[in-house]
């Protein structure tokens, strides 16, 4: 089985990382809009949890972003957030709270330059506290 790919341009990676750096010391978060696994847009969002160890999309911003996806005929291509001091790998909290069936992109600021990896968190039922972590290959090109 071939690993799933998430294709993103260097400029968009830079935009995502810049948003994460600007959010320090707290985690930062946002959405990736795209089509068929290719990211077209980075949607920078507010971390409503305003915490160095937690993130939560502001529900109203999320609603507006989902409306934008609808209006621009884009798909939710991924959800990104930063880990300020830990590896770019889903934390137990990330797994427990994962809901959407899209790649979760993690930007680790523990490294310089920042490390970007993506994972699907596969659950039997979307409310399950546990899930299987499957890496999605991030291909930076374009």
């Amino acid at each position: 089985m071939t690993a799933e790919l998430l294709v993103i341009s260097p400029d968009l990676v830079q935009e995502m990382v810049a948003h994460c750096l600007a959010g320090r010391p707290n985690e930062a978060c946002g959405l990736l809009a795209g089509k068929d696994g290719v990211v077209a847009k980075v949607l920078r969002m507010t971390n409503a949890a305003a915490s160095p160890v937690r993130y939560a999309l502001d529900p109203k911003e999320q609603f507006d972003a989902y409306s934008l996806l609808e209006n621009e005929d884009l798909e939710l291509g991924g959800i990104f957030h930063s880990h300020t001091r830990t590896e770019a790998y889903p934390s137990p909290t990330d797994i427990r709270m994962a809901t959407e069936d899209v790649p979760y992109v993690i930007v680790s600021l523990a490294r310089d330059p920042a490390e970007v990896r993506a994972f699907r968190i596969v659950k039997e039922s979307w409310t399950d506290p546990e899930g299987e972590v499957v890496e999605v290959t991030v291909r930076v090109e374009g």
Binding site: L57, P90, P92
Partner: protein, 98 residues
């Protein structure tokens, strides 16, 4: 406001996480009513969907947010919020982690 039998005029937007319960449909049309009645109609059209949205205690699952047009139903009348013809109901999973 008279009851219109068979009127189909409220759009429910379905996020990706729930599309496996709706035969991959992103929009479902239902009749006006309260949010509870909208959820019951979703269950009728797509059996098994309701238990994805509600707890056994009959409350909205805490990871689900519902918008009526651009208003969060939590700040309206929650499950008793009325939706009328032309309204759009959006279901959103909360997105969070650590």
């Amino acid at each position: 406001m008279g009851r219109k039998e068979g009127a189909v005029s409220v759009e429910v937007r379905i996020p990706t996480v729930f599309r496996k319960f709706t035969g991959d449909r992103s929009v479902i049309e239902v009749e006006p009513g309260t949010i509870s009645q909208v959820i019951d109609q979703l269950e009728t059209q797509h059996p098994g969907f309701k238990e994805q949205l509600m707890t056994d205690a009959g409350e909205l699952h805490r990871f689900v947010n519902i918008y009526v047009n651009d208003e969060d139903a939590r700040y309206l009348d929650k499950l008793d919020t009325k939706v009328t013809e032309g309204d759009t109901v959006s279901l959103l999973p909360s997105v969070a982690g650590g």
